[in-house]
């Protein structure tokens, strides 16, 4: 546990970006679990456990895990932005779909994409503190 906290402290910004984003997804999963859909929670839990496990390491595997999470976030936000564009072109009339693409939701998608890119870029510096050169 101490090692996890230490590793988080040593790369505070990156760790916060990872933890905040996974917590948000886990929260979404819990909300869905309450109303009877368990898949988002299960997926969120698996990723959460893998990320916490990765914070216990400080090696290539943990970097890969964080990078994967960064790519997933980028994919999530980009998918939503592309979908919005497609729905605008095809003028979908379903209110539920339209309600997913409010200006606030669009801003959220952009923020998630930025967070994903930030994690991908920063994760190369997340390595053994003894080495100074960034890993790829």
């Amino acid at each position: 546990m101490n090692r996890i906290i230490e590793n988080i402290k040593s790369s505070l910004q990156l760790s916060l970006a990872i933890l905040a984003s996974i917590t948000a997804f886990l929260f979404k999963g819990i909300n869905y679990l309450i109303i009877g859909s368990s898949i988002p929670f299960l997926l969120g839990m698996i990723i959460f456990i893998l990320i916490i496990f990765s914070f216990n390491q400080r090696n290539r595997l943990s970097r890969r895990m964080f990078r994967l999470w960064g790519w997933l976030l980028t994919f999530w936000g980009t998918s939503r932005l592309v979908m919005e564009l497609m729905f605008e072109i095809s003028s979908i009339t379903e209110e539920h779909i339209q309600s997913q693409f409010t200006p606030g939701q669009k801003l959220l998608s952009i923020c998630v994409v930025i967070t994903g890119i930030y994690i991908i870029r920063k994760v190369r510096y997340y390595q053994n503190p003894d080495t100074l050169t960034p890993s790829i």
Partner: protein
């Protein structure tokens, strides 16, 4: 003696005609207000699709329920998307059904559910789809209030988000199941305002044998043509899924004698056949009276 009989017959015909006239006026007012043809309390309900529009529609329906001297209740819900993968990307469905209960006149734990969806597609006034269904069940309950002997409780429910994969009725079916109320039958009405060939025909969707007999019994007496289909694309499907006896009743959709303006901005007040709606309302009222016996 002959004069007396003639007078009684004349009075009966006159009274029945007067009742239909009043019913038509009542339904014209309701559908007019509900589809934006008539202003309601300084606002116009042009469509009932967005969350704000549906909020306003709910206020209107609560007001109508209060006008019957009944207490409106809200069944709010959050429902997952149809596919768990979509759940990962989208927020859940959020809405609220409005319902009320007209109690039986004797001790009873049985409920007959009369339901109609109140939402529309984006930008559609929804006079026929489904202002007519809403008006029908409202008028039936209003008339049932005057019936002296009601052996079962009547639940009047207006479903949200039928146009979004029957989400509102699915949530309500779940709610009824959870409450463990004894449900005698569920009758849903979707589009009852079009009769181009003037034959007064109605469609029964997937009735149980008991409900089919009840409807056919009254229909033969009133000379209303009926036919049965296996169409399950509207709210009654949600109740059948959880095991309640259900039936869908509407205009002759399966025979294409149905509003061509469904889900378009042309689904307006002027296209509603109010004589057909009133006739269908009286028919359903008679069926309910039979079920209440």
């Amino acid at each position: 003696m002959i004069r007396l009989v003639t007078l009684i017959c004349f009075l009966q015909v006159f009274t029945a005609f007067g009742q239909t006239e009043t019913l038509i006026e009542e339904q014209q007012k309701l559908i007019g207000e509900f589809s934006g043809a008539i202003e309601w309390e300084g606002t116009t309900l042009n469509a009932r699709s967005s969350s704000e529009e549906r909020d306003l529609a709910r206020d209107y329906l609560k007001d109508r329920i209060r006008s019957l001297g009944l207490e409106p209740k809200e069944n709010t819900y959050l429902m997952p998307n149809l596919n768990p993968l979509i759940d990962l990307l989208f927020s859940p469905f959020k809405g609220a059904n409005i319902y009320t209960v007209l109690p039986a006149t004797v001790e009873s734990d049985e409920y007959v559910v009369l339901g109609a969806h109140f939402d529309t597609e984006v930008g559609c006034p929804g006079a026929i789809d489904n202002g007519t269904g809403v008006a029908l069940i409202y008028s039936v309950v209003k008339k049932l209030q005057l019936v002296q002997n009601r052996s079962k409780n009547i639940m009047l429910v207006f479903f949200d988000q039928e146009e979004e994969e029957l989400v509102g009725s699915q949530a309500f079916a779940k709610f009824l199941n959870k409450q463990q109320w004894k449900i005698h039958s569920v009758h849903t009405f979707d589009m009852v305002g079009w009769d181009a060939d003037g034959d007064r025909e109605m469609e029964l969707e997937l009735p149980t044998p008991e409900l089919e007999n009840a409807y056919y019994g009254v229909a033969s007496r009133l000379e209303i043509p009926l036919y049965v289909t296996s169409i399950n694309s509207t709210d009654h499907h949600s109740f059948r899924q959880v095991g309640f006896p259900a039936i869908g009743v509407n205009e002759a959709y399966g025979k294409r004698d149905s509003s061509p303006f469904k889900d378009t901005p042309e689904d307006t007040f002027d296209t509603v056949n109010f004589d057909y709606l009133a006739g269908s309302t009286l028919f359903v009222f008679e069926v309910m009276k039979e079920i209440m016996k």
